[in-house]
Symmetry: C2
Subunit: 573 residues, 2 copies
């Protein structure tokens, strides 16, 4: 049992201070903060904008109010602060243990986050951080009751994971962890808000620390793949974020949605939209560039290096666009399009824009909605507050956020994102020969799947006497096509194993949600000896379309539509 | 110039006799023929039911009334018969030439059709038949103005091709051909009608000789792949035929279509259906087993060995099913199905049956029609006379022919073909482990394509100074998804070339017709030297689904959904 170090009191003050600021920010998300607030921030010890590890630590205290440290601090701080002495009761012993990770242990060296990041596999030792603590958990990793999940934090912070997995919230676990302590983490930061006044990025929302940024400005990030298949409905704060521009600040009371087309133009307020019949749809949204990082290994492509996590599944609620357009007097016309514009502006003040065929918008089975809720909560700013159009089955890029304008038009949107991006090309088309006008804008997405656990490089235990490993992931197809089968192989296709599917019961053609799947793969004696196994997943949709085997022949210069078999190499132990 | 042999007069009598019979049969297609007719047939010299070559010869005289020989015979026979002597005028010289191929040349050997069939490539000499003549055209083949098409007839009859390609209808061509004469063809037959009274097969319709049977009873046949991409609308007589049972005989005046579901049951007559608003749709129909012969090379599958010709594209016209069902009071219900039954009965008197989701049937954009016309002609018996349901974008098996009953039901059809056939499975599912109840009935088909010319084994000329070869084929995807791109490679994917598309302008989601395509592929110096080149085709549909590379990983025990890349090996000359 170790004693608290003197430095913890200052740390606590810092946490407390920050937590107050955070709550203020939450209240301010829809209007510009005051200069005063920013000055305060600059003068505080938390002002330096942060490394990833620093953000992670903050987020542990922020996300969902469930953070390990914070609750205790809130309950106990007066007591501990006032007493400022050794503690002895069982309750106080535990309280003390709960502070270890936010305590600077001066007898240990201090590491920068980028140094910790180097130690991300057994060969280089597995380091993690928790609060201020740096821990070498290499020798523990194999015995971790949660298995490989611990590796998701290798080289970074465990805080966000522990915020989800509450079973770590015991004295025993804290004691175990502190036993692996090897150092202190340098610095701390609690915000990714830009300091510079007037910057278009100065009003970016806070994000969950588990979101791995593919880019920070604009903010684009995906959750760890290992968490993605845990829940049928992706938690809002872990849902991938794809922003093309800075996040606009919208006061819901000032919000207006212009609608042009039909009998006459109309403007809807947020209350007006909420007054329309409420319709909910389960829909996965997927970025056109999901899994780009795999395609780029064949040959470099242009675009954010997404893993397989640029997808999420949610229940979206709002008004049906078909109701709005019909009320407006819009008639079916298969040559027409519906253009959407967002409140997010590029440097020339052009809004983000995209379009879909009018036929999709008018089809009640198309389930296009003007959504104000995501998993029964108001949309967050990163997901389009206050209104986002949800176009189920269609590439994320058409699901325009911060929706301000809808136009029924003879042509597609002339935006960059409709005309010169999000299109597929032949593998032999390069930047010298590409002609974007010759290719169709992506709408419905092709069938795809990904293995979420185990992850690449994981050490996988054979889990029963029969010698199986368990594999889990997601599968989805665009256009409302249901996933009818997911096949797994760990012998390059010599034998395939059909996964169990978890999916919503919806009719085909309107099956917009993703499917989660679990498969048990037998491991042969030879594979156990060899140790290395590559697992492949391929999904089949209700039109019996299948994924292509590899990326070579679907490669395209923008790295979109990366739906080849998902292949993951693991080690059998 | 050779003289007519005495035997020709008898042949002419035979042809004339047969031609009369044929016309009678055409008038009788909707009612059972008399016993008397069959006796006459048995007594005639044409009675022995036929080898393929024999049928081919007959068909040359039958198809479209355009046959080379017949017209002349009709015009000239009295004159020639009566005179019975040498002919000298230019007109009579030509008339004589037109009889060579129906003349037995006694100084030459006689060959059976199966002997001719052996000579189907340059290595074994290329033999063809025309009428009674057997010709060795090996030395001519390379200079054939029509290129490789001549190889489609290698080992068999050229008659059906000449019936289509009227440019052969000249004295020069006939003289050239007779110069290659090496023998006479044994026997002749003009019908594939079953002799046996009371056999369920006794009323099968006549078929075009170019249709290559995959099975004769029930009749299943596809046209030569080399002809398939010649026309956007497949000629009715060359449209693949997929019969599961004997072709029923239906008197159009007695025809009734029962409709169950909605407010109350109803019965429509043929006239009643024709009185409804007429709707036309261009739709390709594809057998679920198209290209099975490629899949079975990986491992044997169960089913007819279709090439890539079990598909055709037509303009279908009839009444819209959505109009009929709505008129009937059927309400949208996404849990329901529409069952179709045909007049074709299995040995236990159960009809052929299949079903589709009610949502597809009720959707005006689904374009489901009760068709009575195919390419502006009444349906032929083989294609469902008098009424066939056309379910655009959906596997051929649901496009029930000889439609007699429609039922709106809570469940899918319980027919064998819906429940225990036309479903996809994992490659590791075999006949010991298969559980048909676990798999979804095929409805919309996946994206596919095929190279129609050149054909496998063809000798291909590099066609210009730049050194290109021209490749042509078809592509199609189910569910109304447009083909957006077809890529070709002749270097195993190192470089891909985008084909020009020929397709109907229809909105996506309703793009039910196929796309024809043409690509020009550069041939490298190395490839010219090597001689052998393999061409691959892959199509991309509007959901950016692509074909899988190979059959190994999509193999299934029924050999359906065989949509891997189409790969064709040719020789460069």
């Amino acid at each position: 049992m170790r004693l608290l170090r003197p430095s913890w009191a200052g740390l606590l003050r810092g946490w407390h201070h920050q937590h107050q600021r955070h709550h203020r920010r939450l209240l301010l998300t829809t209007s510009r903060g005051s200069n005063g607030e920013r000055e305060e921030q600059q003068n505080s010890q938390w002002s330096s904008p942060g490394s990833r590890s620093e953000q992670l630590l903050y987020a542990a205290f922020w996300a969902g109010g469930l953070t390990l440290g914070y609750h205790w601090l809130t309950d106990k701080k007066n007591h501990v602060l006032l007493e400022g002495q050794k503690v002895a009761s069982e309750e106080e012993l535990e309280a003390t243990a709960r502070l270890w990770h936010v305590t600077n242990r001066k007898e240990l060296p201090t590491y920068r986050a980028d140094e910790v990041e180097q130690h991300n596999c057994a060969e280089k030792r597995i380091w993690v951080t928790y609060g201020l603590g740096v821990y070498d958990v290499t020798d523990f990793a194999e015995n971790h009751p949660g298995g490989d999940k611990i590796l998701m934090a290798a080289g970074s912070a465990i805080d966000p994971f522990w915020a989800i997995y509450q079973q770590h919230n015991t004295l025993e676990v804290l004691e175990l962890l502190e036993g692996f302590r090897i150092g202190n983490l340098e610095g701390l930061v609690v915000t990714n808000v830009d300091d510079e006044l007037g910057s278009p990025w100065s009003e970016e929302p806070q994000r969950h620390a588990l979101l791995k940024p593919a880019s920070k400005r604009p903010f684009n990030a995906e959750p760890p793949i290992g968490l993605l298949a845990e829940q049928f409905y992706t938690p809002n704060e872990l849902f991938y974020v794809r922003n093309h521009l800075p996040v606009p600040v919208i006061n819901p009371e000032d919000y207006e949605l212009e609608i042009e087309g039909g009998a006459k133009d109309k403007t809807l307020t947020l209350e007006g939209i909420k007054a329309l019949p409420k319709h909910s749809v389960t829909a996965a949204i997927m970025c056109g560039g999901n899994r780009r990082s795999e395609m780029t290994k064949v040959k470099a492509v242009k675009g954010l290096s997404w893993g397989a996590g640029a997808v999420g599944n949610a229940k979206w609620s709002g008004a049906r666009l078909c109701d709005v357009l019909r009320e407006q007097g819009v008639q079916p016309d298969e040559t027409k399009h519906v253009i959407f514009e967002g409140a997010d502006l590029d440097p020339t003040s052009h809004p983000y824009g995209a379009s879909i065929p009018l036929a999709k918008a008018l089809d009640p089975r198309g389930d296009v909605i003007l959504a104000y809720e995501m998993n029964d909560e108001p949309l967050s700013r990163d997901h389009g507050f206050p209104i986002r159009v949800i176009v189920p089955g269609t590439v994320g890029a058409r699901n325009v956020k911060w929706l301000t304008r809808i136009v029924v038009a003879d042509k597609e949107s002339d935006s960059h994102w409709q005309q010169n991006d999000y299109k597929g090309f032949s593998p032999s088309t390069d930047w010298d020969t590409v002609d974007f006008s010759k290719s169709d804008a992506i709408q419905a997405m092709p069938v795809t799947s990904a293995i979420c656990t185990p992850q690449a490089g994981a050490r996988v235990k054979v889990d029963d006497d029969e010698g199986h490993i368990t594999v889990r992931g997601y599968a989805w197809s665009g256009g409302g096509r249901k996933i009818v089968r997911v096949d797994l192989t760990n012998d390059e296709g010599a034998s395939w194993h059909v996964a169990e599917l978890e999916q919503e019961e919806m009719p085909d053609g309107r099956h917009y949600g993703w499917s989660l799947w679990t498969a048990r793969l037998p491991v042969s004696e030879a594979q156990r000896k060899a140790g290395d196994v590559e697992i492949w997943a391929k999904a089949v949709d209700s039109a019996y379309n299948v994924q292509p085997e590899k990326f070579e022949h679907i490669w395209n210069l923008r790295g979109v539509l990366a739906n080849a078999y998902h292949k993951v190499k693991v080690k059998i132990i």
